[in-house]
């Protein structure tokens, strides 16, 4: 439960940091060259931070925990290689070791050392995957809304 709350708080905090300054986040997202379509780029910069906040709140409340964890895991799996790629590009450009590269990856914490961020993301992926296994049910409002529908006659997933 504590891990679920910690992960939830982490994403609420990181999401709000970005959501309150979407203009700065937009500039950072653009550096990744994800797309040349401005509408798509804007949608990522505008939506992603609030989506993180939403998933974080779900984890905190204990609602659709595995669905939220799955989304966070997918986002981490998508963005971690991008962070690595950008860090490698900067390392090559500045002739630096990867772990000495410090940059704002747009993760919500300002400038960070690349290796620290990559390790942090790996830990977050592990925690998200752990929640996917169905852990962290204590004090959850509605842990798994679709479980009953998929397993008719299955156990009640509401744990208070």
């Amino acid at each position: 439960m504590a891990i679920r709350w910690l992960l939830g708080l982490y994403f609420v905090y990181m999401g709000l940091n970005k959501a309150l300054h979407p203009d700065l986040f937009l500039k950072l997202v653009r550096q990744y060259d994800l797309t040349s379509n401005p509408c798509f780029l804007n949608a990522i910069a505008a939506g992603l931070p609030w989506f993180e906040v939403f998933c974080g709140l779900l984890l905190l409340a204990g609602v659709a925990v595995r669905g939220a964890a799955l989304m966070l895991l997918l986002m981490l799996m998508a963005f971690t290689p991008l962070v690595l790629h950008r860090a490698l590009t900067l390392a090559a450009a500045n002739a630096q070791h990867l772990c000495l590269v410090k940059f704002d990856c747009g993760c919500g914490t300002g400038e960070v050392f690349a290796c620290n961020k990559l390790v942090e993301n790996c830990l977050l992926m592990l925690v998200s995957a752990w929640l996917l296994t169905g852990r962290g049910r204590r004090l959850s409002l509605w842990f798994s809304p679709f479980e009953a529908a998929c397993h008719s006659g299955g156990t009640d997933s509401h744990v208070s």
């Binding site: 203009d23 937009l26 989506f51 939403f54």
Partner: protein, 201 residues
């Protein structure tokens, strides 16, 4: 497994709707249909045609590259000496020479060129009413941001002044060195609101 996927899809769908709704309601939200980085700016940022060579064959200085980049947008760059002269020109007191600070609100409040108007392009609507009339009558409009590699904000703001507010391009100058150079030259800095009278060195 199926229930997890269903949950994930539901979270994705509801989350996307909530996220876009929150952005629409947020006073700092982005306009999805607006191009915050015009195509020309994107093309130039990629480094296209921005590597002029010095006559001797060596690569020109960073300042010259920046000036070339500013010119590539059809804008006129200004160096620190010229900017200092314009700052000390008596016409500035009559708003015939205007300085435009293209950095965000927080940076502006922490310090700006005395008398400069705030104009952060991503939230341009907030500033248009103040900036438009002043810039249209000004004989010279000097736009600056942090300077150096982070000069895109001043270029973007100058393009908005030229293309949206129809400020004549011959009146527009982009101070490439920007606020960083201004401070390193030991020139006066005003903090807080415009004409607050609070200065720091």
């Amino acid at each position: 497994m199926r229930s997890i996927l269903l949950e994930g899809l539901a979270v994705a769908a509801i989350g996307a709707a909530v996220a876009l709704g929150a952005n629409a309601l947020s006073p700092r939200g982005l306009k999805l249909g607006r191009d915050y980085f015009p195509p020309r700016l994107q093309a130039q940022s990629s480094g296209t045609n921005l590597s002029p060579k010095a006559p001797g064959g060596s690569t020109n200085s960073a300042a010259e590259l920046l000036a070339a980049k500013i010119r590539a947008f059809g804008l006129e760059p200004a160096e620190s000496n010229r900017v200092s002269q314009l700052f000390n020109d008596p016409r500035r007191e009559a708003d015939l020479i205007v300085f435009i600070d293209a950095r965000d609100e927080k940076d502006y409040k922490q310090g700006h060129i005395p008398g400069a108007l705030e104009f952060y392009d991503p939230y341009r609507d907030k500033y248009l009413d103040t900036v438009a009339p002043v810039c249209r009558i000004a004989q010279r409009v000097v736009v600056y941001c942090h300077g150096g590699d982070e000069c895109d904000d001043s270029i973007q703001a100058a393009l908005t002044l030229r293309d949206v507010l129809h400020v004549p391009k011959e009146n527009l100058l982009v101070y490439g060195g920007g606020f960083t150079e201004w401070c390193s030259n030991g020139l006066p800095v005003e903090i807080g609101e415009r004409n607050s009278g609070q200065m720091r060195r």
